[in-house]
């Protein structure tokens, strides 16, 4: 009854619409449309200043909203921490803020900042640490003073170090609960090698070993103006701000130079690697290799190849493995690229247990096709259009432009790296795409990780090649920590 009524109304209305539609401009089918050129757009570039002590400052005024934000990126990150203290930089990045300054505890800072809806935060990464601020313009003076206090006089109070360690222990205890966390960790282990600084994991023992003195000495070793790139954006007058920052930082003496460790990258050992997990009905497959650096001359051809192969809603992996075969919800990947070290090449999918081997073969099929068949004119054009037409979104806000420039400065790339990008992408040929596919994605060189319930696979993995079982059991805490945790220890192990 209800359906009939609404159908009737629908018919009635469609007549009304038809009548009203007469005389108005008719819609044009999408493929007959022409587009005006995008208006010329010259995003505002930040001003770069280098102080005598080596500190680099970028100023990017933006008066849209009454906010100011500051980020300082400091050279030195977890790749430089000792293997016996993995987790040190993670703890540093947390306790730098929570441990407060010499004159104010972290809790006092919390009260002060939260009352103003302001943020001062510190963080850590593989090659750098950060200290940032975000506040209303009206609060900038006192919040920036607190920021400077933390930058220059951190205290790393012991109670907050202990709190941060407890949270890290929790992360360790829980790291095998979810498939995504296992895959992320073991993928890096396979691609880079378990002991590579870009892959190694925190363990109870390495976290337990970190002492307050380690954080203090890290700070002493790395936090110098010649190691810092500071970006400030928001609602300020650039002349006044420049003067203020010069006055603030000019007198800070230069420190000794620091250097990232020399890291050897060796290709992963090919073969199949299985992590058995019995409480899942879906397998995750990751095909892994070392990728390339962004200053590699192949970077542009690789970008186009990645777009065709596994990027976005119209890539070959998405079209063929997801839409045509219905084998996966999540599928994608390509050759990894990074600024300072080889990225991680990763072709990944998730498929139900009983299509695990079929899924692996479907990925192989796409790799083969990528190497054997050059993209046709249309496919190449679409991929380039995707990259070039969406290019504007890399600099459609002053904040994005600032972040991009800070990254180039940090990695010693030309500051106009982005300006060449368009023309370089434009030049990539179909042959180059095939060449980089052959060069960087070679089936016989891949480490293939499978996390899943192997009792329910469609066929044994061993039918594809030798299988290594990966042990992900968590090394137990050292005795002293076990005692501290009490009778129960860290809970069940898996």
């Amino acid at each position: 009854m209800r359906t009939q009524k609404s159908l009737f109304v629908q018919i009635l209305f469609s007549f009304v619409l038809l009548a009203a539609g007469l005389g108005t401009a008719q819609p044009i089918p999408w493929n007959k449309l022409t587009f005006p050129p995008l208006p010329a757009f010259h995003p505002q570039q930040p001003t770069r200043i280098q102080l005598a002590n080596g500190m680099v400052i970028f100023l990017q005024p933006d008066h849209e909203l009454p906010l100011i934000s500051v980020t300082a990126r400091i050279r030195g990150g977890s790749i430089s921490e000792p293997a016996s203290k993995v987790g040190l930089v993670g703890l540093y990045g947390e306790v730098w803020r929570t441990g407060g300054s010499k004159t104010k505890t972290g809790d006092q800072m919390d009260d002060f900042l939260e009352a103003r809806a302001a943020k001062v935060e510190t963080g850590d990464g593989s090659d750098s640490t950060t200290i940032s601020l975000n506040c209303l313009k009206a609060d900038f003076e006192p919040v920036f003073d607190m920021y400077l206090d933390l930058l220059r006089n951190p205290e790393f109070r012991g109670d907050k170090l202990e709190l941060a360690k407890q949270q890290m222990y929790t992360g360790i205890a829980r790291r095998n609960d979810e498939v995504s966390s296992i895959v992320g960790r073991v993928s890096a282990d396979l691609a880079y090698g378990k002991d590579n600084p870009y892959a190694r994991d925190e363990e109870y023992a390495t976290v337990f070993a970190v002492q307050r003195e380690d954080l203090l000495s890290w700070h002493q070793q790395y936090v110098y103006p010649n190691n810092i790139i500071l970006g400030i954006s928001g609602d300020f007058d650039p002349t006044t701000m420049e003067a203020k920052l010069r006055q603030t930082f000019d007198s800070w003496p230069k420190g000794p130079p620091t250097k990232d460790p020399d890291i050897k990258f060796t290709p992963p050992k090919p073969g199949y690697y299985l992590v058995q997990k019995t409480d899942v009905n879906q397998s995750t497959v990751s095909m892994l290799d070392l990728g390339i650096l962004r200053n590699n001359p192949d970077y542009f051809a690789v970008s186009v190849m990645n777009e065709i192969f596994g990027g976005g809603f119209s890539s070959r992996l998405f079209n063929n493995v997801r839409s045509a075969k219905g084998l996966a919800y999540s599928v994608g990947g390509g050759v990894g690229t990074s600024f300072s070290h080889p990225g991680m090449t990763n072709i990944e999918m998730q498929t139900k247990s009983d299509t695990t081997v079929v899924g692996i073969q479907a990925l192989y099929e796409e790799i083969d096709k990528m190497q054997q068949r050059a993209p046709d004119v249309d496919e190449l054009k679409r991929a380039k259009d995707q990259i070039l037409n969406s290019f504007i979104f890399r600099f459609d806000s002053p904040g994005k432009v600032l972040r991009e420039k800070m990254a180039y400065e940090f990695y010693h790339y030309p500051l106009d790296f982005l300006e060449h990008y368009r023309s370089e992408i434009d030049k990539v040929t179909a042959d180059q795409v095939t060449q980089v596919a052959r060069k960087y994605i070679q089936k016989e060189k891949l480490s293939v990780l499978v996390v899943g319930n192997d009792a329910e696979f469609d066929k044994p993995l061993s039918g594809l090649g030798p299988v290594t079982k990966v042990d992900i059991s968590i090394p137990p805490p050292p005795k002293a920590l076990m005692e501290q945790m009490g009778q129960q220890g860290p809970g069940g192990q898996n």
Binding site: S6, T24, E114, A117, E178, Q282, L327, G491
Partner: protein
């Protein structure tokens, strides 16, 4: 209803803080927003923000998984997936022939399904035959498909962030494009909702099954949430999973999806917000020209079932191969409740950042939890829903300790006023968050569409701030006493069991 709020907030904040900022006053903001309801009932909002030659849109369909028909859970979400499959003009080499082939798919599927669900007298041989006919029909229809052409058009014309989402409350579609592509946007987005074609439906069903395996079956937290909501709600559709039960996902048809589409994807049930470098005087006529093709139909019926009072403690205890976690939820009324802002105050005071009560008590002082918080809006806000608390125990600590500590915090909230500082912090942060929310086209488009849908007027996001300002300490105690009662509680937990034979797991 916890969302991010914008413009008037700025005005109020500026008044409070005496910051002169003419560009952000209400009058200027109102001048930049154009709202129009087309004759077919579709509401369109355009906000001009000429920072860069780009725009974002957010289309909100006021129907989510709460609208899934009985035995067809997951259908709203399935329809969301199908909205990427194209139209008679997008995604096909020959629609006239494809249309016939797709009708054959439906016909053979109906025959197969009728046999498959027979309780008595199912003929296995006949079933195999019918399945083959259905699979053959799919293969025949497949020949006409240009795979993912919709996404390809968007991406090759510079679209980024293309996505869609289905919640219990609604379904949304979004991406951003360079501003010179506005007419292309209007052409394909109107086509998408005027003439959807259910091609590749049964393969996409398998894709959604994989999504279910990933999010729910193979994820301990996902498993817990499904069980928890199924226990906390009995009458309201919030008790069913948005992604759908496996058996429903393996049963419903393209015909069912299209029926859902025609019932709920009505122009009068949809709002589109566009934000960016767009001149409303030029853009509104383009939008009208294309979206006029959507038929006008009356708004679909509302869900009328109201969750009855709980009146008993309920509990879900999962024994699982995962570390412990504890959650407890209390029923509260929908976002239209006059105390909505009071619940937001409780969320903020209990959970926002390092000064929050849950962090300071469970994490910092008692040192029993790695994380703890309380929040509203679970699993939606449109209907009466839950205010939930959770605690993640540190190694060596237990769910029982989480429960005790959480209930102590609730008791304190019920028996003592919050401090002046706590209340003020909530108000200040709410206002500042508004300002931060103004900085992106995507965020603004989302807020405009949501407020227009939920309150019938986007300006309501201004009025929310008045409600925030009026919240008192007495309100917080009153609401805490009303909501956080023993008989209104549902408990969910994971207890660690490392023996696979004894532990729960996903189904196949």
């Amino acid at each position: 209803m916890k969302l991010r709020f914008t413009a008037l907030a700025t005005l109020v904040l500026l008044a409070v803080m005496t910051l002169p900022l003419a560009a952000q006053d209400l009058a200027s903001f109102e001048k930049r927003v154009t709202v129009k309801t087309l004759p077919n009932g579709l509401t369109v909002l355009i906000l001009r923000r000429p920072e860069a030659p780009v725009f974002s849109f957010f289309t909100l369909v006021d129907a989510g998984s709460a609208q899934d028909p009985l035995s067809q859970t997951g259908l709203a979400h399935m329809m969301e997936h199908m909205a990427f499959k194209g139209t008679p003009d997008i995604g096909t080499t020959n629609y006239a022939e494809e249309k016939i082939a797709l009708a054959k798919v439906e016909q053979t599927y109906a025959a197969y399904e009728a046999e498959r669900v027979k309780r008595v007298g199912r003929d296995p041989q006949k079933l195999e035959q019918l399945k083959k006919e259905w699979q053959d029909a799919i293969a025949a229809a497949d020949k006409f498909v240009i795979k993912n052409q919709f996404g390809e058009i968007v991406e090759s014309h510079g679209g980024v962030g293309m996505n869609a989402g289905t919640s219990y409350d609604d379904t949304s579609y979004m991406y951003s494009m360079p501003s010179n592509m506005i007419e292309l946007w209007a052409a394909i987005e109107s086509d998408r909702f005027a003439n959807p074609v259910m091609r590749e439906f049964y393969k996409e069903r398998n894709v959604v099954m994989e999504e279910r395996r990933m999010r729910t079956d193979s994820n301990p937290t996902g498993r817990l949430i499904e069980q928890f909501l199924g226990t906390a709600f009995a009458a309201n559709p919030y008790h069913r999973p948005t992604v759908g039960y496996a058996s429903d996902l393996q049963s419903f048809s393209a015909t069912d999806a299209l029926e859902f589409f025609h019932r709920y994807y009505e122009s009068s049930n949809m709002v589109i917000a566009l934000v960016g470098d767009l001149d409303p005087a030029q853009v509104m006529p383009i939008v009208e020209k294309y979206f006029a093709q959507l038929p006008a139909k009356p708004k679909p019926e509302e869900v009328t079932t109201v969750e009855p009072p709980q009146n008993s403690v309920r509990e879900v205890k999962m024994r699982d191969q995962a570390q412990p976690i504890y959650v407890e939820g209390y029923h509260r009324p929908s976002y239209l409740d006059p105390d909505d802002a009071v619940y937001d105050a409780i969320t903020d005071i209990m959970s926002n950042g390092r000064t929050s009560r849950m962090f300071r008590s469970l994490v910092r002082d008692q040192k029993i939890a790695a994380a703890a918080a309380g929040f509203s809006g679970f699993p939606g806000t449109k209907y009466a829903h839950l205010f939930a608390f959770y605690g993640v125990p540190l190694p060596g600590h237990t769910n029982q300790e989480m429960q005790k500590a959480i209930q102590e915090q609730i008791a304190k909230l019920k028996s003592q006023d919050v401090t002046d500082d706590e209340l003020q912090m909530f108000k200040t942060r709410t206002k500042a968050d508004l300002i931060r929310g103004l900085a992106s086209n995507e965020g603004l488009a989302q807020q405009l569409a949501i407020y227009q849908t939920r309150y019938g007027d986007w300006r309501e996001l201004f009025r929310y701030l008045d409600k925030v300002d009026k919240v008192t300490k007495t309100d917080i105690r009153r609401v805490a006493n009303k909501a956080f009662q023993d008989n209104n509680r549902t408990i969910g937990s994971i207890e660690t069991v490392m023996d696979p034979a004894a532990a729960g797991r996903g189904t196949n």
